[in-house]
Symmetry: C2
Subunit: 493 residues, 2 copies
Amino acid sequence: MDESWVNSAERIGADLHLELSGPRVGRAALIRALRDAVRSGRLAPGTRLPPYRSLAADLGVARNTVADAYAELVAEGWLAARQGSGTRVAMGVPPTPLRQWGSSEAPRHAGRVPRTGPPRARGPRHDLRQGTPDASAFPRSAWLTSYRRALQQAPNEVFGPGDPAGRVELREALTEYLARARGVHTEPCRIVVCSGFAHALRLLFGGGVLRGPLAVEAYGLGFHRELLRAAGVRTVPLPLDEHGACVDRLGRERAVLLTPAHQFPTGGPLAAGRRSAVVDWARARGAVVLEDDYDGEFRYDRKPVGAVQGLDPERVIFMGSVSKSLSPAVRLGWMVLPERYVDDVLAAKGEREAWASVLDQLSLADFLSSGSYDRHVRRMRQRYRGRRNRLVAALATHAPHVEVSGVAAGLHAVLRLPPGTERSTVKAAAWQGVALDGLAEFRHPETDMPAGEGLVVGYATPPEHAYGAALDALCGVLPPQVTACAPQPRSPE
Amino acid sequence: MDESWVNSAERIGADLHLELSGPRVGRAALIRALRDAVRSGRLAPGTRLPPYRSLAADLGVARNTVADAYAELVAEGWLAARQGSGTRVAMGVPPTPLRQWGSSEAPRHAGRVPRTGPPRARGPRHDLRQGTPDASAFPRSAWLTSYRRALQQAPNEVFGPGDPAGRVELREALTEYLARARGVHTEPCRIVVCSGFAHALRLLFGGGVLRGPLAVEAYGLGFHRELLRAAGVRTVPLPLDEHGACVDRLGRERAVLLTPAHQFPTGGPLAAGRRSAVVDWARARGAVVLEDDYDGEFRYDRKPVGAVQGLDPERVIFMGSVSKSLSPAVRLGWMVLPERYVDDVLAAKGEREAWASVLDQLSLADFLSSGSYDRHVRRMRQRYRGRRNRLVAALATHAPHVEVSGVAAGLHAVLRLPPGTERSTVKAAAWQGVALDGLAEFRHPETDMPAGEGLVVGYATPPEHAYGAALDALCGVLPPQVTACAPQPRSPE
């Protein structure tokens, strides 16, 4: 390979530019193009990548897009970065020649060359990203028992066209479970099974059941906001304070999306007075409260607060899934709906569209009613409580100036950072193979509330044996105690 | 119960009117309301329902909406109809008292009363609706073997956040299988797994990857047209002749949706000259061909024609699913994409959104690569071929004037009927507990091609043991040979 080619930043930019033709050159496309270039050998191991600024200019994208793409690929192990010496292609990534399919003259019967993503075990060394449970703890054998029983006992009609509401066995089991565990008052005919929370949002807003403007918490998942924006829904940020979302700021919105049990990501519960206030607002305005109960089962210091839905089942849409409690791989979630929305949600879902795997639905029904779900949640609650305690203890020892905010709950914690240190800390973490997000990632772009800085640490994500090392690595990248006028870590460009 | 109340058509209309408040009183809502009224006892067994016309006027809906709702509920066993004596609530439907949840004063801890749909085994007596394979033939034990193996061998990362493209194991298995069985030329990185054909359409058009106008075949699934309409896509009908869709009528559309292997529902394959013509059109116009390969594995008289996709993988999006070959309950489908669409489809799918159950994906990958899929398809091909032959033989004996059109393929056949008999035959079938659709159901409302009349008979749907009785019942409702000026069966009003 021509060394001058490999080392020329302009050639790399030009090459990526060709790859990235199209109107949507974003972070994801750039990451894919870079991965491909490494995998195909066009970027050889050890090659130094252009600085953010020049590649950004070559591609006509924001500098942060390039910075984020590099950081992600460092975390995934494709690239390596050392402060001062720039970013290089990691050594030892085996290049996989990719058949070129660009024209219809491509050989018809050329051999199959799978592009299989990064080699196994090439994720970040320490994965502290929020959002997923410990993947090594999936209850394989109990789940298989439920799946086998469900498959063997299923009447034949299970394999025919499905009820778009989802299997009644699952809706019955959820009715019982949600009443007991979350104080949800409903009946099976008010439940619609879907493939997760994002699917629920799409059905409600993309399907024309609800319309905006929708009030949301000033901090939340960007991809939910993006999904809503794509559906033409304007979101209006509600500031957060120590009692949770400031629901007294609600005005003429038609709906509000809240995480009352454990604000995501900042970590506080919605105060009792605000729980009733938001329901009163919805009643007075003919509006609706969307309750995202994403980790409601995981509270460590007390019994979880029940769902707001219990206050008025006709004014609250309660949404949950197994993505935190079992695994996002199962792709099962549910909406508990006021009666008046059921038909419209089913119409939005589409005739004959079950969406979620019917066999998994039956398996989950069995898993719930046999007590396996309770046992699994109990076990994970214990595990995650232990991890949170270890995190708090490690910080007390190694970084006593870094505060863990929020209640003892859920699968993640927010570490408050001194002003001006968040962005550099996230990058420093990536260089050390620690993947996590800064609070800024979750901030609504239009909120006027003061920005706090911090790290969102998903302590549930690593497998049990790797958690200690992840904690050590995390403590190693936290900024030192800031004293007046202390120099800030320099950005790597 | 007050008998005068029960028997008063006006009261029934008024009662349903209350139930049906809201902007979308359609067939589905009316069916639900009527079911609820029967289930709750508000409509007692034996109660005579108002004539279509008067209920339609009461509710402000089309007469056909009421007629269709009655027919559906007759087919489901909730209502009973006899020509001349109107439609009545069926005897012996056990009323289930429904807890009233209309206000927030409803008792919080009232006992759970599941609304579980009609009692089991209360579908139509003879289900000849198209669209589903024989639900009794799902290969439970082979599937469980694959699922167990997949679950046991899965690396832990399977239970973490998924690749929105779907599991690579499945995309690899599909690449191999589709090349072998359908002549599809692709590689795993061009495949995106989804939850079925409707999901694929939503991703392409709802997600902004493709835009209309979209040419479609003049006969096709109404719910696909409806889904496209909801996504703001104008569909332009292409007439069909004995060579399939008239692709020479394609003009400035940006895409065309075809069922080349076996036109749905009319049953002919797309002629060879038209296969290449449509690809040429797409090349010349910068357009794209959507190939809906819904039942491509099921051809009985010869080896199936390969996919049009093989002619030019850069101009054709090939879509398939297991809904016909295994079961719609599995909710797995795939798109084979030209390279230029992959990123946009993944963006439309959403970050971290696998949609389809990851465990089922792994299970299907094993099912494909272990040969279980081939064995199952072979077995079902034999079974459906036998059923089609029995259908043809039964017609030859009992209704020699009724022609079966289309090639020997797929899971359904079209029975051509004499003019003016389709609608009444579908209704007569419903009265006899035979559920099937007329061709009119599938006709694009804007096509100018002459309407043929016929029945779409899903011969795959009944379980094996019930097929003979279903055939007998079908033959019993076919219109007699029409001679000049023969009286048409009267509509039941």
